[in-house]
Amino acid sequence: MYISFFDPDFWQEIWSSLKKNKIRTFLTAFGVFWGIFMLVIMAGAGKALNNGVSEGFKNFASNSAFIWANKTGEPYKGFKRGRIWNIRNSDIAYLRDNVPEIEYLAPRLQGWRESKGDNVVRGIRSGSFAINGDYPEYRKIDPFTMVYGRFINEIDIINRRKVCIIGERVYDVLFQPKENPIGKVIRVNGVYFTVVGVFIPDTKINFGSDKKETIFMPFTTLQQTFNYGDVVHFFSFTAKNGIPVSDIEPKVIKMLKERNSIAPNDSEGVGHVNVEAQFKQMSYLFIGIAVLTWIVGLGTLLAGVIGVSNIMLIIVKERTHEIGIQRALGATPRKIITQIITESVFLTTLSGYLGLLLGILVLQGAGKVIEMSKEAGNSDMILSDPSISLSTGIIALIILIVFGAIAGMLPASRAVRMKAIDALRDE
C-alpha cells in the first residue's frame, strides 16, 4: 500500500499522539537531547585538546631525533662506569659522512646563563637570557618565524661572525617597542654581538630554555668565543623523506658508542629522544580520547533511545483501540508499523537535532572565549578551536535516525502482532 509522507493526516496522527503525553514525551526527548549534546561537547573538547596540542607541535619536524651525552652506565675498555664524555665536532663530521639517511643534522651548544645577574646588556637595559649556538639547519627541524632580519646562515658559521638572533621576549626587554633592532649591538656574557634577527617560535617545544627568552648565535662563534673547544652539547637530526627516524637512530647511537668507547650494551651513555615515537604516542592518546568520547556519548544516547522505545510502548498501548479502528478500516500492518517507527524516528531526530544544535552553539561560544583569552596574551592555553567536523555531525544524525527506527520496532511489532479484533475490543 502506498503511504505518503507528505500527507498531512500522516503527521497529524504523530503530532496528536505525542501531544497527548506532553510531559512524558518531553522527558523522553530530553534523554536523547542530552545524549547527543554530551556527545557533541565531549567530541568538541577532545578536538580542542587535539588542536591545541597539535598547534604546539605545528611544523615541528616529526621525523626527527635528539641525541646528547650522558654519564656512561657501564664500565668499558678500562673506563669506569659513570665517566663523563662529550660529543665532539669530529663525531658530527663522521655522522655527516657516514649516515646518508640523515637529511638535516644540527649540532647545538648551550651557553651558560648567569643565575645571579643579568648576562645580556644593552645600554641601561639588561636581562638574564639563555644562549644557544646553532646551525642554520636547526630551523628546518624546529621552525621560527622571523619578525626582523634573518636566521643564522652558512657564512656566519664559516666566518664565526659575532652576530645573534634574539627571541621576542629578549627584544621586548632590550629594545623600545617598534625599534628596529637590526645592526644594533648587545653585550652577551661580556662579548659584543650584532643583532641580525628577531624571531617568534612556531612551536612550544623547548630544550633547556624558553626559546622566546633565548639568544641564538652561530654554533662556531659560540664554541670559539666562549672556549668550548670542540664540544657539542647535543644534536638533532631528521631522516630523509620516507625513512623513519626510528630506523637510523640506533645506527647513529651505535656509531657514537664505538667512537667514544662506550659499551655497546650501555643504555645510559647516550641520551636520546625520538620525536616520531613521541608523536605516535600522542596520536594514540588522542585516538583513546576519541574512542572514549564515542563510547560514553553513544552510551548516553542509547539510554535516551531506550527511553524513546519505552514511551512508544506506552503510546502504542494507550492507542491500541484506535489502532484497532484503523485496522478495521483497512490500515495494513505495514501502514501501522511505518506510522509508529516514523513517530519514533521523528521524536529522536527532532530532539537529537536540537541537542546537536545547542552543542555546536556551546562549542562555538567556548571557541570564542578561548580565542579571546589567546588574544589577551594567554599563550599557555592548551585548548584551541573546539568544533566538531561536519562528518561527525552527520554520523550523529544518522545514528539518531537508525536508533530511532530501532526504538520504534518493538512497539510497532507489538501493535500489529495483536489480532485486529483484540485491538478493537481494548478500551
Binding site: 503511504i3 500527507d7 497529524q12 478495521a328 483497512g330 490500515a331 495494513t332 478493537l424
Partner: protein
C-alpha cells in the same frame, strides 16, 4: 454475497476451551438486510467478527462475494476489509482527534487516495447523511446520532458491498435509533447488503430477515412483516 458452511470457532483460555460457534450455516444474498439476534454468549459477536475478517475461524468455510476467506495474511485481510466491508459500531469508534470529514475520509486514506480528492468524496458522503455543516467538527462536539451518521458515512465511503453493523443503535435513544435505521434502510435500498447485530426486538423487526442464534448454532430464522418505515 455471504456463504457460511459448518463454521466452528472456539476460544482457548489457558486450559479451558470455549466452543462458541458450533457449526453455523448461513447464506445471505446480495442486497439483503439481515439482523442477527441472540442473547449474550450466543456467539453473535463472534460471528460478526468472523464476517468482518477481524477474527479467524477453526473449521468450515466462509466466502465473501465469491472469495474464500481463510488463513489470510493480515495485510490481505486489511485490504479485503477496506474494499469489501464497511463497519458501523455501537460506540461509533470515531477517531477523537480527527474531524468528521477526516474520519469519513479515513478508509480512502488507507487506500492511498490523495487528501484533496478523498476529502471531496468524504464531503459528498457527509452530505448524504445530512451532516455537511458539521464537517469540521470533532466527534466530541457532536451528539450520538450525529456520530453514528458520521460512522455510517465512513462505512460507505470505500463503496463496500457489505455493511456490518454491531448494535448500531445500542447507544442511542429510540427516536435517534429509528432515524439511523431509516438511513440504513435507504442504504440497503441503494443496493448494499446489510448485516445488523442487535438485541432490540423493534430494530430487528425493521430488517428483511431475522437470524436467531442460540448456543452457537442458528436456532431459527424469521421473516418479519415488512413494517412501514417510521
Amino acid at each position: 454475497m455471504v456463504d457460511i458452511n459448518e463454521l466452528h470457532k472456539s476460544y482457548i483460555n489457558g486450559k479451558n476451551k470455549l466452543h462458541v460457534l458450533k457449526g453455523v450455516n448461513l447464506h445471505i444474498e446480495a442486497g439483503e438486510m439481515v439482523s442477527i439476534m441472540g442473547s449474550s454468549g450466543s456467539g453473535k459477536s463472534t460471528l460478526l467478527n468472523i464476517l468482518g475478517i477481524l477474527d479467524n475461524y477453526d473449521k468450515g468455510t466462509y466466502s465473501l462475494g465469491g472469495k474464500l476467506i481463510q488463513n489470510m495474511s493480515e495485510t490481505k485481510a486489511a485490504r479485503y476489509r477496506n474494499e469489501m466491508i464497511g463497519f458501523v459500531f455501537q460506540s461509533f469508534n470515531l477517531i477523537s482527534f480527527k474531524t468528521a470529514l477526516e474520519n469519513v475520509a479515513l478508509p480512502l486514506y488507507y487506500k492511498g487516495m490523495g487528501r484533496k480528492k478523498r476529502n471531496l468524496v468524504a464531503m459528498s458522503y457527509l452530505e448524504k447523511v445530512g451532516l455537511e455543516p458539521w464537517a469540521n467538527h470533532l466527534p466530541s462536539e457532536m451528539s450520538g446520532g450525529q456520530k453514528q451518521r458520521v460512522a455510517i458515512a465512513r462505512a460507505l465511503i470505500a463503496n463496500p458491498q457489505l455493511i456490518l453493523a454491531d448494535e448500531p443503535t445500542g447507544a442511542l435513544d429510540t427516536h435517534t435509533s429509528y432515524e439511523v435505521m431509516n438511513l440504513l434502510r435507504e442504504i440497503n435500498e441503494a443496493g448494499k447488503t446489510l448485516i445488523i447485530v442487535t438485541h432490540e426486538h423493534d430494530i430487528s423487526q425493521m430488517t428483511d430477515r431475522i437470524i436467531r442464534l442460540r448456543d452457537g448454532v442458528i436456532e431459527r430464522e424469521e421473516f418479519p412483516v415488512k413494517a412501514a418505515t417510521v
